[in-house]
């Protein structure tokens, strides 16, 4: 059977490295070996940086030998979504248009991970430019869900969550524009957090939709997510939308899980048509559990949430149509048609045609339409108004409750290919996660059981007000502990061995 090292949590690994029980090199090698063994099947990684990871691990071991103090995640391996720039290591964003691009600079998140001695194993697969909910839109082929390799691992950060569920890494980084951290976490039985917008720097995170994108931690436990959250969060002068305030005490909250006396909201709009019965069942049980743990449940009505998906599919494509204009084949990445017979303008059009996949083109076209003269007010302008209404609904809700809970996704992992050419069906996967991105507040997904009908993981979403990310961890840790006690083991123990 596999090496027991890979089953350890990040917190356990860090403790063992700090005490000398394990070396960082041993830990890294164990994970590299696991990747070698299973990634052909899972395809979580686009690039494994073997040499870079081992060099980082050696540096950690040397630090320890010199008696230097190690950070709380020193030597812990991590899988980085291929949307963050890494100096000297390829960054593709899951797209052909950036195939072979080696950035000359590190994203702020990359820098912070390196500074914290977190060992970056490689870059994970994703839907091209983070557009998708299944990782099928990757130009480099889909990722399989470790629970059932014929099913999607969620998206866009399917590579990161699959790497966790397949025990290829105890930690991963994702980005969440409409649910791309939380939805993959839900369908793979892992934990994912979308911090408050502005909580984690976007510098060096290739932009999809600037006003919605937010990087965040992925892990197998709430505490591990908190430890990683603390490493990557904080003000960054290179990102104008970065919050200049202390990071909420997430680790402390994760160590002191409790819902005793808390008011927990359940939103009327987060159920109904399109929700799988087993998902609703596990969600309702979670609400019961919260009650048992001492929470007070409050019913909430947030009527504007019904417009969230529509607003999202106007705002995100609009911003992406502009953000992706820079991929023109002139300064970096793919160039097509430069045969002496085509002008720069033509080469740009040919390059973009050849380099972008269908979903990316679809969204660029949609966004171009929504912003074009004559349509702006009806589409983009109205969507921005919906955004205001959603923010107000959240504000009103948070006057009555401390956190809101909902299913993370309406269904469990669907089969690869099922929704591939039905964009509207695909977009429904983000029904519950999108309102948070529009309002900018914080949310987490953690496992709450397997749906009885398909034995696939169901995610519980916890939503907190902006800058109250610590509440996610306080509630999440309490729920996680109660479930693990109930199940007798972490949910991932039930996943088939690969």
């Amino acid at each position: 059977m596999s090496d027991p090292i890979i089953k350890l949590t990040a917190a356990e690994i860090a403790a063992k490295i700090a005490s000398g029980e394990l070396t960082a090199v041993e830990v890294t090698e164990a994970h590299l070996a696991r990747i070698e063994a299973v990634d052909e099947k899972v395809h979580a990684f686009l690039h494994v940086d073997r040499e870079g990871a081992l060099a980082q691990a050696r540096a950690v071991d040397e630090k320890r030998e010199r008696g230097e103090k190690l950070g709380p995640l020193a030597g812990v391996p991590l899988a980085l979504k291929d949307i963050f720039t890494t100096e000297g290591v390829p960054t593709t964003v899951g797209s052909k248009i950036l195939e072979g691009w080696i950035p000359p600079y590190d994203a702020t998140v990359t820098k912070k991970l390196k500074a914290a001695d977190v060992v970056i194993l490689g870059k994970t697969n994703m839907d091209e430019f983070a557009m998708g909910s299944s990782t099928e839109n990757s130009a480099y082929g889909p990722t399989g869900n470790p629970w059932d390799l014929t099913r999607i691992p969620g998206g866009s950060g399917g590579g990161s969550s699959a790497a966790l569920a397949a025990f290829q890494a105890p930690l991963a980084i994702g980005t969440d524009t409409g649910g791309s951290i939380r939805q993959p976490a839900a369908v793979t039985g892992t934990v994912g957090v979308k911090p408050t917008y502005g909580g984690v720097s976007r510098y060096g995170m290739v932009a999809f939709s600037s006003s919605l994108d937010q990087g965040g931690p992925c892990a197998r436990t709430v505490l591990d997510a908190a430890l990683l959250h603390e490493v990557i969060a904080g003000h960054d002068p290179m990102d104008s939308t970065s919050i200049d305030a202390p990071v909420p005490a997430v680790v402390e909250a994760a160590r002191n899980g409790s819902v005793e006396g808390m008011r927990v909201g359940v939103v009327k709009q987060f159920r109904g048509e399109g929700y799988q019965a087993g998902v609703i069942q596990r969600f309702d049980e979670s609400v019961e559990l919260l009650k048992e743990l001492g929470a007070e449940i409050v019913e909430l009505d947030c009527p504007s949430f019904d417009l969230a998906l529509s607003a999202y599919y106007l705002i995100a494509p609009s911003e992406c149509s502009s953000n992706l204009a820079r991929f023109d084949g002139l300064r970096y990445g793919l160039r097509t048609g430069d045969d002496g017979g085509h002008s720069a303008e033509e080469v740009t059009s040919l390059t973009r045609e050849a380099g972008f996949g269908p979903e990316v083109k679809r969204r660029i076209m949609l966004g171009t339409y929504a912003l074009s003269s004559g349509y702006y007010d009806a589409y983009y302008g109205s969507a921005q108004k919906v955004r205001t209404l959603i923010t107000r609904d959240f504000e009103k809700a948070f006057e009555q409750v401390d956190v809101i809970v909902s299913p993370t996704t309406p269904t469990t992992a669907f089969p690869i290919g099922e929704r591939a050419d039905d964009p509207m069906a695909m977009y429904l996967a983000d029904l519950c996660t999108i309102p948070t991105n529009l309002a900018g507040n914080a949310a987490m997904s953690l496992p709450c059981g397997l749906a009885p009908e398909d034995n696939l993981p169901v995610g519980l979403q916890i939503i907190a007000p902006a800058m109250k990310d610590d509440r996610l961890y306080k509630v999440g840790a309490a729920v996680e502990a109660a479930f693990v006690e109930k199940w007798g083991h972490p949910l991932l123990e039930e996943a088939p061995s690969l």
């Binding site: 430069d338 002008s343 109205s382 108004k385 955004r387």
Partner: protein
């Protein structure tokens, strides 16, 4: 309400610099029509006296002091260039305005 035509799709493709193939034009015309039809509901609020939200956080006046920071080296700047010449990015003939 919408009814996006093939010509409109072609116009959008030109604006977006995508050299779409004829079958793509057809395909996208149908899909965009569906999507726009589904999301057009947002215009229900168009008349409402609600301020639009462009930024999720109420931040203002984030600025940096006018101090020089190190640039990339020209080697780094050009490291991803599909073609280069004389320390410049080499691109095919530009048709645009003269």
């Amino acid at each position: 309400m919408p009814g996006i035509t093939r010509e409109e799709v072609a116009h959008l493709a030109r604006l977006a610099r995508l050299e779409l193939k004829p079958e793509e034009l057809e395909h996208f015309a149908g899909q965009l029509d569906d999507i726009i039809g589904a999301v057009a509901r947002v215009s229900e609020v168009a008349d409402q006296d609600v301020p639009p939200t462009s930024h999720p956080l109420p931040l203002t006046n984030v600025m940096r002091p006018d101090e020089v920071r190190p640039s990339l080296t020209p080697e780094q700047a050009l490291s991803g260039a599909p073609a280069q010449e004389q320390q410049r990015f080499k691109v095919p003939q530009i048709l645009g305005e003269e």
